[in-house]
C-alpha cells in the first residue's frame, strides 16, 4: 500500500510539474494536462459518435488481429516446436519473415485486400504473429524428457498430449510472447490506420496533426498510452490466473 502511494505520488507530481511548465511556457506544442483533458472531454464525451466511430473500431481491429495472430502463432508454434526436422526447414525462413518491417508490406496488403478492415487485420497479424510463434516453438521444445516419457508410457491420446502436456508446459513462454504481441498490436493498429482509412484512432491523430490541433494530438497519444496500459494490465491478470499453478510466485516480473 505504501509503495502504491509512493509510485502514484511521483506520477501525480510529474503531472503537476508538467501543468505548471505548460502554463509558464504557453507553447502550442506542449499544452498543459488540463487542456489535454479538456480536449479529450470535448472530443470523446461531448461527441460520443467519435468513440463509436473511431475508438471502438480501432480496439476491435487490434483485438481481432491479435487474437488471429495468437491462434495461428500458438498452433503453428506448438507443431513446429515438437519437430526438430520441421524447425530445421522453417527456422531460417521464420527469422527472415520476422525481420521484415510490417509497414513495408502495407502496400502489398493494400492491393491484395483492397484496403479496409481486412488489410488492417493482415498488417496487424503479420506484424505480431512472430513473438507468439517463436515463443510457442521455444515453449514446446522445453517439455522435459521425463514428461515426454511419462506421456508415452501411459499411451495418452494425441489431443491430451497436445492440450494436456505440451500446451501447459509451453504456456509461461507463450504468455511472454502474447504480452509482446499485444503491445506490438497497438503499434501496428496505429500504422495501419495512418495509411489508408478515415476512421480509427490513428487516422484521427493524423487529422489532428494536419489541422495543427496539437492539444487533440496529445489527447490521442495519451489515449493510446492509457489503452496500452489497460490492455497490458488485463492480460497480466489473465496470465496470473492461468499460470497460478507455477511453483515460484513470480510477482513483479516485467519483460
Amino acid at each position: 500500500m505504501n509503495r502504491f502511494v509512493q509510485r502514484w505520488t511521483v506520477f501525480a507530481v510529474l503531472i503537476v510539474v508538467w501543468q505548471v511548465l505548460g502554463w509558464l511556457a504557453d507553447d502550442p506544442f506542449f499544452p498543459p494536462p488540463s487542456q489535454i483533458v479538456t480536449a479529450a472531454y470535448e472530443w470523446w464525451v461531448l461527441e460520443p459518435q467519435n468513440v463509436t466511430e473511431h475508438i471502438l473500431p480501432s480496439v476491435g481491429r487490434l483485438l481481432s488481429g491479435w487474437a488471429i495472430a495468437c491462434v495461428i502463432g500458438v498452433s503453428l508454434g506448438l507443431l513446429l516446436g515438437r519437430s526438430d526436422r520441421a524447425m530445421e526447414y522453417a527456422g531460417p525462413l521464420l527469422v527472415f519473415l520476422r525481420s521484415i518491417p510490417p509497414p513495408a508490406l502495407v502496400p502489398v496488403f493494400l492491393l491484395l485486400f483492397k484496403g479496409g478492415t481486412s488489410m488492417q487485420l493482415a498488417t496487424i497479424v503479420f506484424g505480431v504473429v512472430w513473438p507468439v510463434l517463436l515463443n510457442s516453438v521455444d515453449g514446446a521444445r522445453s517439455v522435459d524428457v521425463t514428461k515426454v516419457d511419462t506421456s508415452a508410457v501411459f499411451g495418452i491420446p494425441r489431443w491430451q498430449w497436445v492440450l494436456g502436456v505440451v500446451l501447459p508446459a509451453a504456456s509461461p513462454k507463450i504468455f511472454a510472447g502474447l504480452r509482446v504481441s499485444l503491445s506490438l498490436s497497438l503499434v501496428l493498429m496505429v500504422i495501419s490506420e495512418l495509411v489508408a482509412t478515415d476512421n480509427g484512432i490513428g487516422s484521427q491523430l493524423m487529422q489532428a496533426q494536419r489541422e495543427f490541433d496539437y492539444t487533440r494530438m496529445w489527447a490521442g497519444i495519451v489515449l493510446l498510452g492509457v489503452l496500452g496500459y489497460g490492455l497490458n494490465t488485463a492480460l497480466l491478470a489473465v496470465e496470473r490466473r492461468a499460470l497460478a499453478w507455477q511453483p515460484r510466485s513470480r510477482d513483479e516480473q516485467h519483460a
Binding site: 509503495r3 509512493q6 509510485r7 502514484w8 505520488t9 511521483v10 506520477f11 510529474l14 506544442f29 526436422r85 530445421e88 526447414y89 522453417a90 527456422g91 531460417p92 525462413l93 527469422v95 527472415f96 519473415l97 520476422r98 525481420s99 521484415i100 518491417p101 510490417p102 509497414p103 513495408a104 508490406l105 502495407v106 502496400p107 502489398v108 492491393l111 491484395l112 506484424g127 503491445s183 497497438l186 503499434v187 496505429v190 500504422i191 495512418l194 495509411v195 490513428g202 491523430l205 489532428a208 496533426q209 496539437y214 494530438m217 496529445w218 490521442g220 497519444i221 493510446l224 498510452g225 492509457v226 489503452l227 496500452g228 496500459y229 490492455l231 497490458n232 516480473q253 516485467h254 519483460a255
Partner: protein
C-alpha cells in the same frame, strides 16, 4: 551443415510457392510480383548508387539509434534495478510511457523535430529503450546474492559491486535485450521513413516506389533488403552474445 541445407530448402520452397501464387490468377498480378521479377529488380537496384545511399542512410540511422538507446537504457536500468526506492517511485510513469506506441509519436516528433533524420532516430530510440531497460532490470533481479556477498566480504564497495559483479552477470540479459531492441528499432525506423515522408532511407524508397510509379517489384525488393538487414542484425548480435558470454 545438413540443417543449413534444410533451411535453404525451406526458403526455396517459400520462394517457389510465392512464384506460383504470383503467376497464378488467384491474386491480382500487380500485388504479388513473383520473386523472379523481384530479384531481377533487386539485382539492378543493388548496383544503383541511389538505392545504396537509401540503404546506407537507414543502416546508419539505425546504428546511431541503437547506440543511443544502449547509452540511455543500460545506466537507467542499473539505477532502477539496484535502487528499489527509485524503481517503485518511477514504476507508474514507466508503465504508462512504455505502451505508448512510438508511431503514435510520429506527428509530435514531426512537429518538434522536423523531417530530418532526428525524427526517425528519436522514435527508434524511444522504441528500443524498453527491451534493454527491462532486461537490465530483470538481470539485476536475478543476480545471485551470494556473489554480491562474496564481493563485499572481499571489501568491494557498492559501486565496485555494480561494475565488477552486477554488470558482468547481467551482460547476457542485456545483450538479449539489445538484440530485441535492434529488431524493433529497424521496424520503427522503416515505418517512420515510410509514413513521415523522410527524404532518404529504405522506407522512403519503398514509399516512393509505391506512390510514384506503383512499382510493386521495387516495393518488394526494398522489403527483402529490410528483411535481410534484420536477419544480419539479429544473427550478428546473437553471435556477439555467444562469443562474449562464454561463462
Amino acid at each position: 551443415m545438413r540443417a543449413f541445407t534444410r533451411g535453404l530448402l525451406g526458403i526455396a520452397g517459400f520462394l517457389a510457392l510465392w512464384e506460383l501464387l504470383g503467376r497464378s490468377t488467384l491474386v491480382p498480378a500487380e500485388a504479388l510480383v513473383p520473386p523472379s521479377v523481384v530479384f531481377g529488380e533487386l539485382a539492378a537496384q543493388l548496383v544503383d548508387p541511389v538505392f545504396l545511399r537509401h540503404v546506407v542512410a537507414t543502416v546508419l540511422a539505425l546504428l546511431i539509434a541503437i547506440v543511443v538507446a544502449i547509452a540511455v537504457a543500460v545506466p537507467s536500468g542499473l539505477v532502477l534495478g539496484s535502487v528499489p526506492a527509485v524503481r517503485h517511485a518511477t514504476r507508474a510513469v514507466v508503465e504508462f510511457l512504455r505502451p505508448i506506441p512510438s508511431v503514435a509519436l510520429i506527428p509530435l516528433a514531426l512537429v518538434i523535430l522536423g523531417f530530418g533524420p532526428e525524427t526517425k532516430i528519436t522514435l527508434a530510440v524511444y522504441a528500443a529503450v524498453w527491451p534493454i531497460l527491462f532486461n537490465t532490470i530483470y538481470a539485476l533481479d536475478e543476480l545471485d546474492p551470494l556473489q554480491v556477498e562474496t564481493a563485499r566480504v572481499f571489501g568491494t564497495g557498492r559501486v565496485g559491486v555494480l561494475f565488477r559483479v552486477a554488470l558482468p552477470s547481467a551482460l547476457p540479459f542485456v545483450l538479449t535485450g539489445i538484440r530485441l531492441a535492434a529488431t524493433t528499432a529497424l521496424i520503427v525506423m522503416v515505418s517512420v521513413e515510410l509514413m513521415a515522408g523522410a527524404d532518404i532511407g529504405l522506407g522512403y524508397f519503398i514509399m516512393e516506389a509505391r506512390s510514384g510509379a506503383g512499382r510493386m517489384d521495387q516495393v518488394l525488393a526494398g522489403t527483402v533488403v529490410a528483411g535481410v538487414i534484420g536477419v544480419l542484425l539479429n544473427n550478428g548480435l546473437e553471435r556477439v552474445r555467444r562469443r562474449w558470454v562464454a561463462w
